[in-house]
Subunit: 350 residues, 4 copies
């Protein structure tokens, strides 16, 4: 799975953003992954950057700003884990500086910014940008993709999915259910099916009393693809019982389902039970490690193959139509965009 690299090269990496996900990446680079050294860190809260350096025992410099870090000579590649709104600026600077960039989702928060990134990268003439869609590195999703590609289920007809979080942050909004939660499904189904969305309906469900005021939770997303596949996704970010991801793929000749992670089974008090994980970091732990390791390896050989800027753009693009559907309360058509050859040849959705 991991491509081979020559044993003695080390990628010097700078990490922008030392919040939860940024620290996760620092930790895995410092302690678990191969061929990488964290040499630079920055955060809008400078103390946070300093703390990360000492907490993880890094031999790294804390930069005043993300842009300074991007320009730093010792930095070979950049991981962007700052807030979504800052992504476009950092990515564009990174492209200008001709450095490899791993950016957490979303690629950018507006379609215009995504387009600017796409254009800048094409102008440069070589892939520099990878988006943090870790699910395609998950072993079980990869099994599902292989089952689909090998036509084991015949033609695919529909998908039933659910994305459940135990609790949302207090300030989570109905729109963020699309941009922060559904976005993973918007990407993974394109990747699984090699197909494009053509319509979406966001459907509100009876509100749970456990959700923060003002948040529409749960919701359904009902999507249709160019080849006629229907996908329904339950989005429920205050489901109380744990983190849970479901994906059942229905084909002409059979059905395949994503399993929950294996857990010890206990019989006690007239119940047979196993533990459900509370958060996505544990559910996708291995996928995150593989994702960053492959990014490192591909930087070292000079050729990115992971989720590209076009995948990031498409997720943000479709999310816009989902938001429109949510606001208008009706089905919205999604014009299919032509993928530029640049992204097609390098990096088909496979």
């Amino acid at each position: 799975m991991i491509k081979q690299i020559s044993g003695n090269k080390t990628l010097k990496i700078g990490i922008i953003g030392t919040g939860a996900i940024g620290q996760d990446h620092i930790k895995r680079c410092a302690n678990f992954l191969s061929g990488v050294e964290v040499v630079a860190v920055s955060d809008i809260d400078k103390k946070s950057a300093q703390n990360a350096i000492s907490t993880y025992g890094l031999d790294a410099k804390a930069y005043e700003s993300g842009n300074d870090l991007i320009q730093a000579k010792e930095v070979d590649a950049i991981i962007i884990a700052s807030s979504g709104k800052t992504h476009a600026e950092y990515i564009l600077s990174g492209i200008e500086a001709k450095k490899f960039i791993f950016c957490e989702k979303p690629l950018a928060t507006t379609i215009e910014e995504c387009q600017a990134i796409i254009e800048a990268e094409q102008t440069y003439g070589k892939r520099l940008v990878q988006v943090g869609f870790m699910r395609s590195y998950d072993r079980r999703y990869q099994e599902l993709k292989k089952i689909i590609q090998d036509k084991k289920l015949g033609q695919i007809l529909m998908i039933h999915a659910a994305h459940r979080n135990q609790e949302s942050p207090e300030n989570f909004t109905s729109e963020m259910v699309i941009t922060d939660t559904l976005i993973h499904e918007l990407d993974i189904f394109r990747w699984l099916l090699n197909d494009e969305f053509v319509t979406v309906s966001m459907i509100p469900i009876r509100k749970t009393s456990k959700a923060p005021k003002g948040l529409q939770d749960p919701q359904f997303a009902l999507l249709e693809t160019q080849s006629g596949i229907r996908i329904n996704v339950e989005l429920f970010v205050n489901c109380q019982y744990g983190y849970d991801i479901k994906c059942e793929i229905v084909g002409e000749e059979g059905v395949a389902s994503l399993p929950a992670p294996a857990a010890v089974s206990i019989c006690q008090h007239e119940k047979r039970y196993d533990q459900i994980l509370a958060n996505w970091q544990d559910w996708f732990l291995e996928a995150y490690n593989i994702e960053i390791q492959e990014f490192i390896n591909e930087c070292l050989v000079g050729k990115l193959q992971g989720p590209d800027a076009w995948r990031g753009y498409m997720a943000t693009y479709v999310a816009e139509f989902c938001i429109e559907s949510q606001k208008k309360g009706q089905e919205i058509a999604i014009p299919v965009l032509k993928c530029p050859d640049f992204y097609r040849s390098d990096n088909k959705i496979e």
Copy 2:
């Protein structure tokens, strides 16, 4: 579960219709159930009625017509298992003859016929009619209902369901997917939730090549109830792999799912598998037996408590709006009807 009856009374039953389901009922009455004797049989194909008598060793008379059977003095109660179109006429004759009637679903094929039955029964002044919705006799659905009633999941928010058949008959139509397949869900969700449907959207899915020409298969039904619960039902009558029923109930405080029947688990050839049943008769075998036994017992004590004509009417009523949605390709509102006190007092949906 089975109400007690005095040990030595026997219900003399006449069965109209000796096709597959009619023969199933004859067999269970003759060989397995208590307090019943099949004394009369009829079928439009007289040979079929005669054959049933000899095949199952009945001491019964073959009648020329369903109406003759209904009038026969020795017949205490009637099971109607003939084609759907004949139901209303037989039920109305049965009510006139003041006999207990168990009618396979549907109660009748038109709203007008259902209304005529409802009125005739109310005019008579006592419940005589039971509809063959066997799912509410299934142990697992009863567990689900108890979980909902005991508020173990908090308020219910949505249901994900699927109704899959291995293969449809050659002449199955898109409308029959509603009247013959979805009808079970239309009834069981009213029973589980004690709630009424207010909107429905029938959504066509990419057609499987395994379906007969002209049949839209699969389909989604997307329903909404008065209290705001959303229900999505996958209907797929040529799924190839077996008979499969899914029902996942999502509440504010947890999720409960209908299990598949327990089957021996086998490890072989790098697979761990269990057998999936091929047909509904096996999946719901025990429910059918309990359903008819309770009907017999309740006839003997003179008071029906199973699925009543109003449940039959409501299923047919909602099905009409589903058909309209299917034809028009849009969401349809379903006016909620007031349940007459006659049905309310005797037989709430519980």
Copy 3:
């Protein structure tokens, strides 16, 4: 599964013993099973017999003694559900009275009594006795037997089994773990494998503090069959968490396992769980119903086919050697007895 009987005959049955299992049989005969009427009841506690008649609304006579009931002219067949020590006397009286007898396990408590029964039945010249080994009527054990017979697993090599009860009665003894608990496995493995036991080791396990004083709980039984198959059975009658039966059959070409009963699955509080049944009556409910229904049907056609006196004898016979092993703390050889042709032709272990 249920053999066909002519529709209008009724078996008049007398039940000796109105304790828990006796009442279960009265209830199923009165309310659920076909072709049977309970006409006579007796118990050493006469009030208990009278209570059963009124509780279940029977049109039956309470007899002073089991022997009076056996002699009663109106009684066609007898169910013996009294304590184990009384079985032999009642069975021998029943054979003398030429009546069909269903006797709960054990057939008798000593080898000598079993032999007397075997001889009396052979002298009479026709099978009259059936023993209450209900497991062979269980759908899942029948699936396992079919899998073995069809050679789907190749040659069978070993079996791992467990027999767990939530709690034992206060006065349960280490020997009763063999005569009341293990006895089911001693019978079912002969039936599944069509093979005879040749050695047994009873192995004490670290005692649970939840067991009554003086009771060795849990224990292992390690058995070997004539064809070399090894079987290990965990016996644990105070396991606290519920009633649980395990049976994993390991063959040359695969493994097959008995499933637990299907139960609704619930996700809540970071656990995914399903309910475990608390008692054997629920686990084997359907098996009990089929067992007694088939006994009734076979009485009505005059030919018993269920578990015969030889199976009852063999279970008691092997249990004696298990008790010896338990006492001596060592492996004991079990001489294989030749099955008389009388039992061989009528009723092979199939």
Copy 4:
């Protein structure tokens, strides 16, 4: 889980033995793990060592012999993956050279060799040796250990285990079933229970026709611990259907079971199935990675905490008695050895 190391140190490792497991370790060090560089390789087949260097693109030297590699100045730590008989010599040389040593199981093939290692390490005065028992790095076994330690099951009474391989090598012997297969269970149960074995019976089972001539397959191991816990292990190295590990821990207050790895579930052809892995490398892939990563990290901070030489000695020690039981066909007592303080303080079985 992974202890933190300062980010910029790199452990220079030499690997002795470039067979299957040796190459696995080279691959993971070269491509996936952090803080390590493979600088030296040796194998009795020199071509094999050269091939490994070029296949994995190592900047490493191929040494003539394991001992040369151990002496090499640039080598900080050694992984021994050569055949079992060579282990003792290499470990003793490694201790003399004062280098950290990771040795695949077994520690050594005789008790005398194990004792020599134990003494040499104690004489040196600091832990240098780790044995390759990867199971204690498996997330699921760690969950089981935590459940036991937290007394969630009350006192532990027994364990049912199985160790099944799809096929054994042609030259596999009945003794190797103990030294190569059972050895993992001999170690993991000491680790799980913090208890010592006091008796063992090896019990032959009816032979599968799929095993090589002369190999007794399957076998049972029946073990007893100092605190009275009984453990039965099925050993079946030609089970045909895949690689499968079972471990069910029975306590006074409940039962806990090791799960199989999660796999995509497929419904097709009237079966619901998931794939079973074919080999242990995949089943324990993550455990192997964590095991070696932790070894690297602990070498870098100068303090080993993984499975120590005493654990390796105990596994070999108990295996000797298992072999004796296998040969004599009877239960064998195992004298409990006192763990030297040196191993006790550093590295209790926890």
